[in-house]
């Protein structure tokens, strides 16, 4: 918002859309995690990686649930969500032909610097949700993407491969490199995604991470990441999703921030971990 007296449009563009989005498909892609494709012409084209939607999740819920934009394909958009409670359970039961009420795109997402050549993405569990969209956009921009994906076991790893369209448009398969880590060693490296960061951080111009808070806390301590530009996506209870209720406020190095509006993407070094109660 501008300060002082400025020329104000009496009717600024209404850029946030509430849409009843027809379900194209809703499939369980991993145990307890579903991929929901929606027809969302008003929302999909304007969404950018790291942004989220507030999704209406049935009569038993009062507040909408924040879910990251997982993929965009023209007018279509996908959400990837784990069933953890009543809202996500309701959402898991939507079938092709039903409609899901979405509001967005919201928040301030990831920023890829034009100068960056090599990007390192680190996903912890369902944290893959926004990073897939980021990887798709980065690849399109000709960046080299290394994705470290961590999960409990092989069954909970989302296969990440660019669609045929990407190759048709001249995308380089060598630009995407996926490294898996599992807690039980059933696939790839046995251990945490963060264990692998030191080995890959060196060549990365920028890092992007999404996962549980302990993952970020570990990253905040890593000497290998000192001085590196690292962007993370935070999760917190949200009311409005657009900066009016102050339900999602956190303290950062640059003052109070609203996760829904100023984030959910923040710079890792900006988060005051001792102050963060989430």
């Amino acid at each position: 918002m501008a300060t002082g007296r400025v020329t104000i449009l009496t009717k600024p563009p209404e850029t946030l859309i509430i849409a009843s989005a027809p379900v194209i498909s809703n499939t369980e892609v991993m145990p307890g995690t579903r991929l929901l494709w929606l027809e969302a012409s008003g929302v999909a084209p304007s969404a950018s990686p790291g942004q989220f939607l507030m999704v209406y999740c049935g009569r038993d819920t009062l507040l909408r649930r924040p879910l990251s934009v997982h993929r965009v394909d023209g007018d279509r958009l996908a959400l990837l969500f784990t069933v953890v409670g009543k809202g996500t359970r309701w959402l898991s039961q939507r079938k092709a032909g039903d409609a899901v009420d979405i509001f967005g795109p919201l928040g301030s997402g990831f920023t890829i610097n034009p100068d960056s050549k090599n990007l390192l993405l680190v996903a912890g569990g369902i944290g893959i949700a926004p990073l897939r969209f980021l990887a798709d956009v980065a690849l399109k921009e000709g960046k080299k993407v290394t994705l470290i994906a961590g999960a409990r076991s092989a069954a909970s790893l989302l296969p990440v491969s660019p669609p045929q369209a990407f190759f048709n448009e001249g995308g380089l398969p060598s630009n995407i490199h996926v490294v898996n880590a599992t807690d039980d060693g059933s696939e790839g490296f046995k251990g945490l995604a963060t264990d692998l960061i030191p080995a890959y951080a060196d060549g990365a111009d920028q890092l992007f991470a999404c996962g549980p808070a302990p993952m970020y806390r570990t990253m905040a301590q890593m000497p290998e990441l000192k001085g590196k530009p690292v962007q993370i996506s935070l999760e917190i209870m949200m009311g409005c999703g657009m900066g009016v209720c102050y339900g999602c406020t956190i303290k950062t190095g640059s003052g109070l921030k609203q996760v829904c509006k100023d984030g959910p993407v923040f710079s890792l070094e900006d988060i005051v971990w001792e102050e963060l109660e989430i």
Binding site: T10, E14, L16, T61, L62, M242, V244, C245
Partner: protein
């Protein structure tokens, strides 16, 4: 012919406060009004009430600040706000170009703070009225809300009225013994209108973590869960005072709003419903209009209080 939806919210005030329609937004659920311009034309509303504002900016309460309950939500925001000076500098100039009146909700820890807030806001272009939130702790009386007792509620009202020429709405808390006594005291102290209710004190416990579910232990419950309670209180207050009453609490659609109007409210405020449906307030307005057309009601005044029995 489209029905007459206008409402005079401050008939005793020398300039009055005329709204184009009875649908307002509730404080704390609509920010500064500016945000929702990204969603719909906020100028269509009757009035916008902005976030509770204090003399100095406030950081608010520790997380978690929100917890969903059965048909409701508990909030413990703790009045995080930008402070009155920033509001006057950054928000009021935007409002000055709007047709829709903006009412500033104020909160203080002492009577003097309320008076100073009212004085700061007096004569600022873009501000059409003040809503006094008396649900804040009364520091002098050891932390109970000003609105909990008729005497302290009246004292705040008097101080605010004396400090401003703007129309003054006083917003009541349901957490009091006899709300009609508080309403009467506030009316006698010079309030131009009364709005009610603020959120209801509530609590939830996280049984796994074995601690309160919100950071400030208790919080304020809002949403459909409080609607019957709010409606009964609006009914009682509208019967006890001559002033316009603004009904608030759990309104999610036009039928809810019409219940409040028929209980005696001259206007309504839409609060938490905006979170689940960002244009809930506009939907309420359109629904009221349609109802009136369908029922052949020419003026809103015809139905205010008609459901009191």
């Amino acid at each position: 012919m489209s029905p007459d939806l206008t409402v005079q919210l401050a008939p005793k005030h020398e300039h009055g406060l005329l709204l184009a329609n009875p649908v307002m937004t509730a404080s704390g659920t609509f920010g500064y009004g500016t945000e929702y311009r990204q969603v719909f034309d906020v100028q269509k509303l009757g009035a916008i009430v902005c976030k509770g504002t204090t003399l100095e900016p406030r950081e608010g309460n520790p997380q978690p600040r929100l917890f969903e309950t059965a048909s409701g939500v508990i909030n413990s925001i703790g009045l995080q706000n930008i402070g009155v000076k920033t509001l006057i500098r950054e928000k009021a100039p935007i409002w000055a170009d709007w047709q829709v009146p903006v009412i500033v909700n104020i909160a203080g820890d002492t009577v003097d703070e309320y008076a100073r807030l009212a004085k700061e806001l007096d004569g600022v272009a873009g501000i059409s009225g003040i809503e006094v939130n008396i649900s804040c702790p009364n520091v002098k009386a050891g932390g109970s809300a000003f609105g909990a007792e008729p005497d302290s509620a009246a004292e705040v009202t008097k101080a605010v009225k004396a400090a401003t020429s703007l129309p003054v709405l006083v917003k009541l808390t349901p957490n009091t013994g006899d709300i009609t006594k508080v309403a009467t005291a506030v009316a006698e102290a010079g309030a131009d209108a009364i709005s009610l209710i603020n959120s209801v004190k509530g609590m939830a416990i996280d049984i796994i973590e074995r601690r309160p579910a919100t950071g400030n232990i208790t919080g304020g419950l809002s949403g459909p869960a409080i609607k019957p309670l709010a409606l009964a209180l609006v009914y009682e207050v509208a019967g006890a005072v001559e002033l316009p009453v603004i009904g608030c609490g759990g309104i999610t659609n036009s039928a809810d709003a019409l219940e409040f109007i028929m209980a005696g409210a001259s206007a309504v405020q839409v609060g938490s419903a905006t979170f689940s449906n960002p244009h809930a307030s506009l939907d309420v307005l359109e629904g009221i209009e349609q109802f009136m057309e369908k029922e052949g009601i020419e003026s809103l005044k015809e139905i205010i209080g008609v459901g009191r029995g």
